[in-house]
Point group: C2
């Protein structure tokens, strides 16, 4: 009986740690292909949006964005929000709507993929 | 003359900031598909490798890793190294070679894409 109690506590603790680590976050993997001509303009719009969102919104935690050296019109984003509500609130903000409206003619394709955060490893 | 001097200084400063921001880094976008059965084991190996590399290697700056909720065997990584030499040195380390050898039978496909860092935006 004591063994099962310990096991139960151990399992409960593992879940708690796991939840704190990633399950609370809402994580998106985003793939965007833009019109090659719009590269500089699109990059500027995206950076403005990201900086404003992280600064003003409590629930927007971070963005990592790359484009491919050989195909610079192909972007990949990893976006981390505090939770799903933070994301829903984010897509209604003036800065996000400005980005969305201003860039809509530049975006050829957009793929939004719900994701799990496996690692977020960084120098202290 | 004074105007052109100011312009020159402004341009030089912009370049310096830009270089510091991203050009010095070596950035990889990595797509990995693993054998679905190996999910837990692979995740553990990858996390061990990443934590060790960031801790021990001066030139390994950060990893962001996600897998897809609907296809958890599909991983995407954004890796930031201080420069290309840091990357070359990284792939010779014991912890990387251990990861590579231990996971080789789990990995179905691997795509390494050289990338530019567009945004690295995070709460202070």
């Amino acid at each position: 009986m004591k063994f099962f109690l310990s096991l139960l506590i151990a399992l409960a603790t593992m879940n708690a740690v796991h939840a704190q680590d990633s399950d609370e976050f809402f994580v998106r993997l985003v793939k965007i292909e833009i019109e090659p001509d719009a590269l500089a303009q699109y990059t500027e719009l995206l950076n403005q949006q990201m900086k404003t969102a992280v600064k003003l919104e409590e629930g927007v935690l971070e963005y990592r964005v790359v484009n491919e050296k050989e195909n610079p019109h192909r972007f990949t984003l990893i976006e981390i929000y505090r939770n799903y509500d933070s994301y829903l609130s984010h897509i209604k903000t003036p800065h996000f709507l400005k980005y969305k409206n201003s860039s809509q003619d530049m975006v050829k394709s957009l793929e939004l993929i719900d994701a799990n955060l496996i690692g977020r490893t960084k120098k202290d």
